[in-house]
Symmetry: C2
Subunit: 478 residues, 2 copies
């Protein structure tokens, strides 16, 4: 069962949706899938399927798979677990190539019947040549194929229709949704994402092998609870890592987390030490949470390779600069003192008296001109002592009356620097709490994201991600 033939999963020509009631009073997951696919512009045929028949959104609801005239490539099933064996028999009869089982109630439940049911369904599918995704998962998101599971009708914001370089393989549906929302709001889009749940048939290895070969995917991110075939996974991981960066949150890295995996997707989490050793040996970037997974994916996607660990932090604020110094150093990066000549240059640019603000962090005068800021930071970035430039904006600290003016001002500065400096540039928009600062933060983040700049919510998260990136590079581009 080679993975290289899995392209059809991401761009099927026709989809049947099992369990779509035509009754508006009975909305359910299959209706969400229907609405999402329509709104997302799925380019192929859609066949709603429900024993009661009827019509929904101008589409005939078929009472039985056999009634459908055309071919059916792919089935999304939201029928309850106990009706699945019959559905898969119908899929086999119809020549369906793959079925995604959204519904839970299989091996992840305490009852042994769930496990038996999953085995039965798998056997029917295998014998009939139908590939399974799930059960107990959200399925596939692939902008280029028109596939989604945002499930957000009737509201406005489903997943983005824009494609990108990140390929996501997530055992959890919720964490898949989180990662898509978090990364795309920060400017990083997806080649493909798959939430694969209990992995009765298609599992992490299939998807990993597929993403390794997929030319659209430049970075692979994984959320895994357990592995079905350890030896195959090791091989797949080595091959993947040779081809592109692989970032993994192996959940259940604590004992209790491991137990939670079993409850969630029936996964056997395995020994934490063994996983760590494997990841380290192979060169995988291991993370311990979903936000870290996104931080590092964004760094890999958007940041130039730093030539070293020397950082300059520029922004306004004294105490926040001191904490930045602590956070940068604690993450293993360096914050060199700026050379006296360079400080003299900076004083010349701003025309200010001797002051404390031109050491490092640079406490740049908030009301200075855009040209001064760009010139000053450019001068520092050009220095041989500096490898990385981080601009930080602690919005909650700024006086309310000046916030929007300052932010516009700094967005212009960063936009100019984005073009002019050769060294890696990152932006920290500090997590804010007052409503006024949050609005500015949202607007600024969207604009920095559109520039494909790596944006982080704190210095410590930025510094940590950059440290991991440098370590990754030192292994791969020594």
């Amino acid at each position: 069962m080679s993975s290289h033939s899995l392209d059809f999963l991401f761009s099927p020509k026709s989809i049947a949706l099992a369990g779509v009631s035509a009754d508006a009073a009975k909305p359910g997951p299959a209706q969400w899938y229907l609405m999402s696919l329509i709104k997302f512009g799925f380019p192929g045929k859609i066949y709603p399927l429900h024993p009661s028949g009827g019509e929904i959104k101008g589409l005939r609801v078929y009472k039985h798979m056999a009634e459908i005239q055309g071919e059916v490539d792919y089935v999304v099933s939201a029928v309850s677990a106990r009706h699945t064996p019959q559905l898969i028999h119908d899929c086999v009869a119809k020549g369906v190539r793959a079925a995604h089982l959204f519904t839970s109630g299989y091996s992840e439940i305490e009852d042994s019947d769930g496990k038996r049911l999953e085995e039965d369904v798998l056997q029917i599918a295998r014998e009939g040549g139908v590939r399974l995704i799930g059960p107990n998962c959200m399925g596939i998101y692939c902008p280029s194929g028109g596939m989604t599971f945002a499930g957000d009708y009737p509201d406005q914001s489903g997943f983005p229709s824009r494609s990108g370089s990140l390929g996501l393989i997530s055992q959890s549906g919720g964490n898949c949704i989180y990662c898509i929302r978090e990364a795309s709001e920060r400017g990083l889009f997806f080649s493909k994402a798959v939430s694969y749940g209990n992995a009765a048939d298609l599992n992490e290895c299939d998807f990993l092998e597929y993403m390794t070969d997929d030319p659209e995917t430049k970075i692979i991110a994984m959320y895994i609870e357990g592995i079905k075939d350890g030896d195959r996974f090791k091989r797949a991981l080595r091959q993947a890592e040779r081809a592109k960066p692989v970032v993994i949150y192996k959940a259940g890295y604590t004992e209790t987390g491991a137990r939670a995996c079993a409850s969630h997707t029936s996964a056997i989490a395995g020994s934490t030490d063994a996983w760590q050793a494997l990841f380290k040996q192979v060169g995988v970037i291991q993370v311990t949470g979903m936000s870290e997974l996104v931080d590092i994916s964004i760094t890999l996607a958007f940041m130039k390779a730093p030539g070293g660990r020397n950082v300059v932090v520029a922004g306004s604020g004294g105490g926040v600069g001191v904490q930045a110094a602590d956070d940068i150093t604690a993450a293993g990066l360096h914050l060199p003192f700026l050379h006296v000549d360079l400080r003299r240059t900076l004083r010349g640019i701003y025309g200010t008296e001797a002051g404390s603000m031109f050491r490092n962090p640079l406490d740049i005068p908030p009301l200075g001109s855009i040209d001064h800021h760009v010139g000053a930071i450019q001068a520092v970035a050009d220095s041989k002592d500096i490898d990385i430039v981080i601009m930080q904006f602690p919005l909650d600290l700024w006086a309310l009356s000046r916030r929007s003016v300052l932010m516009e001002h700094f967005i212009e500065v960063v936009t100019a620097l984005r073009k002019s400096i050769a060294k890696p540039l990152a932006v920290v928009l500090h997590d804010s709490i007052t409503v006024q600062a949050r609005r500015l933060e949202e607007d600024a983040r969207a604009r920095f994201a559109a520039l494909q700049l790596p944006v982080y919510p704190s210095i410590s998260r930025a510094a940590h991600a950059i440290d991991r990136y440098i370590r990754y590079n030192s292994r791969h581009r020594p």
Copy 2:
């Protein structure tokens, strides 16, 4: 120079503001202070002071301190550093009790003139019996005395006029502002806060001794860059810690951070190891950042003392539950498997079939009734196996169409539980990124904060703060 007489700093009867130009075209810090005090409702006399005279906001601008008829208790100075010696001479002549020097340009700058100027000013003040706050700082915020430095005119949101239990001593003005905004948005208000900068005269020891004796202050939080008198500080710290919890972010805990302290407020950061040893010995809760300082202050203020380390996490979402299990365990808390009898009780309450959701974390059915949720979580909280209840809400994961309904639903559940359960209760409103989720998060946070519930932006921050709280309690209430 005893600290017990410092009450007058926090509720002066009259304030002169040095450097307030009556010219609207020349706004500056002294004008901000003026507007802030007026808007905040400072109950005493306010005397603007500027060599050009004139009138501002219906108040006469005095050309010289000597022209003021009434007594002047307190001076806020925004005049440039080089004019300060004369100003302090004038203060002495007028019988002013304390002067707060906002302006920078003293010992924190590279130029040795700054250091000399600070010494001169200090000598004039000491000889004339005037206490100094600063220089290079924001000064005092004290709702009960009508004192503020929000500086946010002409916008709406200055600092809260409501008083509370947290006393903050911060060497940095920016970090002081951050802490006031962050804590008060999360429902924790202030007895007093002081930003004291270079600490030429009044220093961390004076304020620490004062807060120790202050009956309004129940918890002391400190941001310190350096210490003026180590022996006195140790004594003050021991005494403070015997009276109330003390949480400290000693900045410059890294070597580079220490250098940044010197640039910022001329502070000598001292050896990190020595600080850690002292804090540990005395029983101070040491933190490594401002957000952690707020997390722990909120936990101390709002959370009942846990009887042990066993946590139940309740909320919706499978993958987010697995990460919660990892995060809770990594922070040193426990997530016990719920007893089979208890799980039977839960199934009885919800009337559901055997499922995976009633282990721990509890993946509660999002559409269950309020009574079911309250009954179920109450039953778990009553169990002898559980010491702490954490409710988590990952808003970005919820389908858009259901978010506001779900959030309202859960706010009712938490409100009911707040009254009914005897054990400590915490809420995690996951940091969200989509605009829709952020609006709901802001609304929900405000409502949980009004209930004086501890609210955190992630499970790991909640677990970490609770772990510190338990360790604090085991020392103090063994």
